[in-house]
């Protein structure tokens, strides 16, 4: 079982109000085979906020997270993390961002411990051995640490991927459907992580279909629809209408139609 206090190790973040916006995008767009998955998003999220990215399937949530994580490059527009352009300063952005995608990015033939040790080496984690053991403990996988990931359930894989994030010192954590595949304990673990990150000033952007269980944990929400911001609100979240030719924010009536 996870410990009551989860260890997260942020970089030296400073006071949130002295930091540049954790996320700032201007007319950000990404096309796949000519079709826009993100169609002109202009958004600012202040540092240290926990924000949900809402919307139905195909709204552009995952694509927006992948753009911010530098997994893909923008087709148009700009995006920055902590003031660093994700396209021109991708290497520096990667030092600041942790990303949990639908895929866990784990190696099936390695054990849970070996996967985390490899991640620690790649993340340059100091005191790697105790940090790996602590992360295994925090995500409730200490007893299965030497088992191959191939034999893990989807929920256990998700826990281990969350453990990998704990080894780094990201200032922005991007979570794509973090509750998916998790049991009640696993969902509680994600809740604990959100609290822990918030306490140390880490910004969290979390894609989800629903925020029913997140009300107390979030500062703001951004709702996407067809690659555009339908609504944005809460503390530290500002969205402006797109200025790309042809990109207009859909009306509520259009969406409901």
């Amino acid at each position: 079982m996870p410990q009551t206090t989860i260890y997260v190790s942020p970089r030296s973040l400073g006071a949130p109000d002295t930091r540049p916006p954790a996320v700032a995008t201007t007319d950000l767009a990404r096309l796949f085979a000519g079709s826009p998955a993100v169609a002109g998003v202009s958004l600012r999220i202040d540092a240290g906020r926990a924000v949900a990215l809402l919307g139905p399937n195909g709204a552009g949530k995952t694509t927006l997270l992948r753009l911010l994580a530098t997994a893909i490059r923008p087709s148009y527009g700009r995006a920055s993390v902590d003031g660093l352009d994700v396209d021109r300063n991708a290497a520096l952005v990667r030092e600041r961002v942790a990303y949990l995608s639908h895929a866990t990015g784990l190696y099936d033939d390695l054990s849970a411990r070996e996967n985390l040790r490899f991640a620690a080496a790649m993340l340059g984690t100091t005191d790697a051995t105790p940090r790996v053991e602590r992360a295994l403990s925090d995500v409730g996988l200490r007893d299965r640490a030497d088992d191959r990931v191939r034999d893990f359930s989807a929920g256990m894989r998700k826990r281990l991927a969350l453990g990998r994030i704990l080894l780094g010192s990201a200032s922005l954590v991007l979570l794509d459907e973090p509750y998916a595949a998790l049991d009640a304990d696993g969902m509680g673990l994600v809740d604990q992580l959100l609290v822990a990150w918030r306490e140390v000033g880490v910004t969290v952007l979390l894609a989800s279909h629903s925020t029913a269980r997140l009300d107390a944990l979030l500062d703001g929400r951004v709702t996407l629809e067809r690659g555009l911001v339908l609504a944005a609100g809460g503390e530290g979240v500002v969205s402006t209408p797109p200025s790309l030719p042809g990109a207009t924010r859909p009306s509520v009536a259009e969406v409901l139609r």
Binding site: I72, R73, A91, T104, L106, D109
Partner: protein, 230 residues
Amino acid sequence: MNALRVEARIALAVARKDALAELRGRHATVSTLFFAAVVLLLFGFALGPDAARLAAAAPGFLWLAVVFAGILAVNRLHLLETDDGALEQLALYPVPRRAIYAGKALGGFAVMLILGVLVLGAVGVLFAVDVIGAWLPLLTTVVLGAVGVAAVGTFYAGVTVRLRAREVMLPLLMLPALAPLLLGAVKATSAALAGDPFGELGAWLQLLVAFDVIMIVAGAATYGYLLEDG
């Protein structure tokens, strides 16, 4: 100097991870070795029982078997990255891309070296050539050849890893690029087995060194772009 040490640490971590995963899936290693042995046997059958012809053709057989089996080996090392989004995760680590290339190539080199030594031994037994008498130049040739196959293979496996038709595309891309290496390695092996009567061994080894250096530099410089998903 510190940056170099960091990159070396990352490369070793990648190579160690590949080696661990490869050892766990031992069937892949065994099947690669078995494939190399079958290639040698088939070449032998194709030439018939003439011992002199077999011995004369042995250097060519050796390197064709190493290259064909090498394609399987480097492909396998990149297939590890197709596990549940592992390639994307690898690309998102805040590390220099050339260090990832170095690590993958190092893992490929280790596999190719083992493969080369074993195939060399098999050639000695199957085609009755004296590989022990010329062990030093032969081993040098195998080391340089293994570096070249690993350097080229790592680059092209990176090119093809996201393709559905990667098993077809990898040899199509790799084999032409390996032609200079194949020429140099076969000539160097022939010269070494014959006792280097014309003093050409050094020149062929130099060709292999030049090939290796060019391919390593080119691979390290461009591998980062291959990790991008557009």
